[in-house]
């Protein structure tokens, strides 16, 4: 989602660049760039979310795209998640819950969101298998295992 950084959409979302917050209905709103947001909702929520935000009062130019098919979302959880992720990501991961950074994970552009004890790693779809493999490799010394998403 793209809209003016200080506009009505930004106000309604209430989450600046570098932060994430629960936007209700199981949706996590992430400030993924200046004037740019990523909304992570439950499976199948895409079309409704697109409708909801396209209907926002006009800020000038507002773009809402359903990115469901184009992203890979990995969740790494557990007490060693920071140590494991620190092997493939150079930013300070000791940040507070709900912080979000655009960075590089195992040399791939990614959005990293601190979510409770763990992290969400959002990357481009085509990198999905590679990213999962790189994280499993990094986490091997901590006993990281793969779980199916629910």
């Amino acid at each position: 989602m793209k809209a003016a950084a200080g506009g009505a959409v930004a106000g309604a979302l209430g989450v600046p660049f570098g932060a994430a917050r629960d936007a209700g209905d199981g949706v996590l709103a992430v400030g993924s760039g200046p004037g740019e947001w990523l909304l992570l909702g439950p499976a199948g929520a895409g079309p409704a979310l697109v409708e909801r935000w396209r209907a926002e009062p006009d800020d000038g130019l507002v773009t809402v795209l359903d990115a469901t098919a184009g992203r890979t979302v990995l969740r790494i959880d557990g007490p060693a998640s920071t140590a494991a992720l620190a092997k493939v990501c150079g930013v300070d991961l000791a940040a507070a819950d709900g912080s979000a950074v655009r960075t590089s994970v195992a040399r791939v552009p990614a959005l990293v969101v601190r979510d409770g004890d763990g992290f969400l790693v959002v990357g481009e779809r085509s990198y999905g298998e590679y990213l999962a493999g790189a994280l499993l490799d990094a986490g091997a010394e901590f006993g990281l295992v793969r779980e199916r998403s629910t």
Binding site: K2, T63, T68, A69, G70, R125
Partner: protein, 973 residues
Amino acid sequence: MTGTSFRLEDRPLRNAAPPNPGRRLDPRPGEVIDRSAPLSFTWNGRPAQGFEGDTIVSALAASGVRVFSRSLKYHRPRGLLTASFHDPGCLVQVDDEPNVRGAHRRVEAGMRVSAQNAWPSLRFDVKAANQLVGRFLGPGFYYKTFIAPERLWPAYESVLKRFAAGGRASAEPSHDSYDKRYAHVDVLVAGGGPAGMAAAVAAAAVGASVMLVEEEYELGGHLRWGGKRELDLLAEQRAAVDASPGIEVLTNSVVTARYDDNWMAVLQRSVFPGVRERLVKARATTVVVAAGLIERPYVFAGNDLPGVMLSTAARRLVNLWAVKPGTRAVVFSANAEGDAAAADLEDAGVEITRLVDARRGENIVRALAARHGAARRTGLSAVELGDGSIVECDLLVTAIGWTAPTSLLNMAGDRPVYDPTAARFRPGDGLPDSVFVTGGLLGDGTVDELVAHGSDVGRAAAARSDARSVRQDRSDRAAGADDDAGPARPAPLPVVPHPALFRSTTHGIVDYSEDVSSKDLIGAAHEGYESVELLKRFTTVTMGSAQGKLETVNAVAVLAEATGRTIGETGTTVWRPPYAPMSLGALAGRQFEPVRRSPMQGWHEAHGARPLVAGAWIRPDHYGDPEAEVRNVRTNVGIIDVTPLGKLDLRGPDVPLLLNLLYVNKWSKLAEGAVRYGVMCGDDGVVFDDGVTGHLGPDHYVMSTTSSGAEAVLNLVEHVLATDHPEWRIHVTPVVGDYASINVAGPDSRALLGRLAPELDLSPGAFAYMQVRSATIAGVTGCFTWRIGFTGELSYELHVPADRGLHVWEALLDTGRDLGCAPFGVEAQRIMRLEKGHLIVGQDSDGLTSAYAAGLDWLVKPDKTDFLGKPELAWVAERGGPTAQLVGLQPVDGTLVPPEGCQLVEGTTIVGRITSSRMSPTLGRSIGLGYVDRRLASAGTVVSVRLPDGTETPVTVMADLAHFDPEGRRLRA
């Protein structure tokens, strides 16, 4: 001569349990070995024993081994000197790993350990003959002797190689790997001795996150080999560290470098099984350097004989590993640590035959080697003292002072100064406010004073780190206002006067790693190498495995003596990273090779696709027979996975302005539902990327780019929007991963697509060439397709939501079975586009190809107000056009396919080159594209191609770039 200890070395090591009865002492209070865990390994092929916790060298020393290597140049036998990581005489080969620090690496069951630099064996090293001619092998000997005549160097080299130092690197790839991680901490403490531990605990107590890095396997520093008071304090401090959750302890690790803003490189060794080393890139807000002191050897004749060691080595052997270092000892002491070593030795049952006290002006002159028996010339037998007396002994312990390992301080910008009172270098006043020093590196004191100072420094470092983070987070950063904020630096520790001892009245080894003697240094100084930096490079002093930690100060002292200057005036060489040698593997770290896969890649692999690595993407090159794939597309219908094509979603009222700026052609009047081909140039007029852009809906466009150029084009677009035209109302979103892209090509493509998209009117009138439509394909909504033709056939490029890509791909094949629908790969596509004469940016153009040279004159619109590259292209046009021109080429002999890259020649002059060349299955002859001088570019001209074997063959310049269907009837069908 005192025989037994010498001969032990030459006896086979016994297999009996308990292992190594000979020199192993009764349990010591601070020992680090686990006597319940004996283990076996081999030393030079013979069985050897040790305990868990032993180093390779402590285990061998416990069996009486005294010689661990031969020295670099003179192949002199070398024994223990420091019994630590830096011990220059203890580099050994372990299995396939050369140059292992034998005095540091812990012994493991089954290790195969052997001596290095010894040929044919440690005992009978023929190269030891070098020491007989040693006086001819002075510094620069190799430079001076073998420089001429140059043609003989290969012969010299083959002989000299046998004399080269080091172990054997395995030719087999190692199964071990190297790792990397990042860390961000408030306070990094380099050194886990009493002051370092105290600093870490104090910093953590006020909430700082701390990384505590210790070079040895355990925290404690010199407390570990101290007496009861030290061991009690050690237990207390370790408990405090364990009780501090904010401290991460890295043992067997070393801070190898400090870069700007406390970017600290930490090398972690033996991280976990299979990982030899790991580089930790740590960003620390503040750093506490508590590196301690390194004991300095004394320079005298015979100072490198096995049996001569430093007081810390003797104390470590006795107290950590319960090894008796000798039977009869002379101790040369200038300080309390030397006296303590004498006491420890006595306690261990070593007879102290003489305590030579430097503080009373006593001296030692030379160490004498055994002249008879099996230990001839391999070990110490007596010491000549300053008063002329000769004392028989098999152990000489020296305690004459310290080297301050100031490396990290130097890297932080400080210039340590020589303090004649302390007889060592001490920190200067050039440290940044984010770097602190404590412990022996700073000054002297009792262990309690060191701990107290460490605590003060830890608290100050934590407070400073807090002040700095607050400052960094504050958005209204008042310029420089709070640079001096934060607590003051604790007062430095005082120093205790220490005698300045460097060299006796005789000459001895200064650099044990490089075999450089004090005589060599004085000779070099007399040759004119009076600058310490020049002296270092000429003699290689300080350039060996110990990297100056043992020899720098002695080298400076000898040079000062030779030149009549003080040590302060002489100065030191620069301490550069890394502080301790590290492997290249650690620098390389983990290898990350990102791989991108389309949603259909699994299908391709399951169907025999030969993979093609294209940038990060893995793509199908072909499925077995690319020429058959071409024929199928030309006669029936084929599908190709083109997901890697760059795709940008462009939205907003000002998109046409952007397109007009980026592309060399006109874009203001692209109707909704239409697509257009465009070429982008750089500011230099050189072709940068190409692709089609479609007008999908109101204020909505999708731009496609080449696969390899996708990222560069996105960067360019973002750059233009962010800096040149922030006023344009445009949103750009890369959507490469959002869509799976499939090109359906061939005469039957319309029929095939019609079956899957029944609602879409595909009649040529309703969906013409270069049009785009939104569509539902095989039941998948949200697709769009444009009618274009890279292959030259009627074709539709489908873009479907990526998660449905495989479904559509399989539906096309299923539905099109009766039409002969089959997949084709990148190679077939390349052949077909060459038949059609379409250029590939990057293959048929290079970093100098202007749009005019690439045959794109028809596209370039110089009457546009502006576009990227316009001034340069105008200049090219003004000068009469490019010098070379892209043309179609056909070898006169149609069976011959000249390799791509062949030059076109006219006599001895190069007049062009071939950029693309293939056998055309459609035409049954070879075809190509290439550049040729403009004067030769007219149709029908015959030029020569020079083939790799040196022969030449004629090729004809064609009228068109297209070899097949130049009118484009097929793709417009």
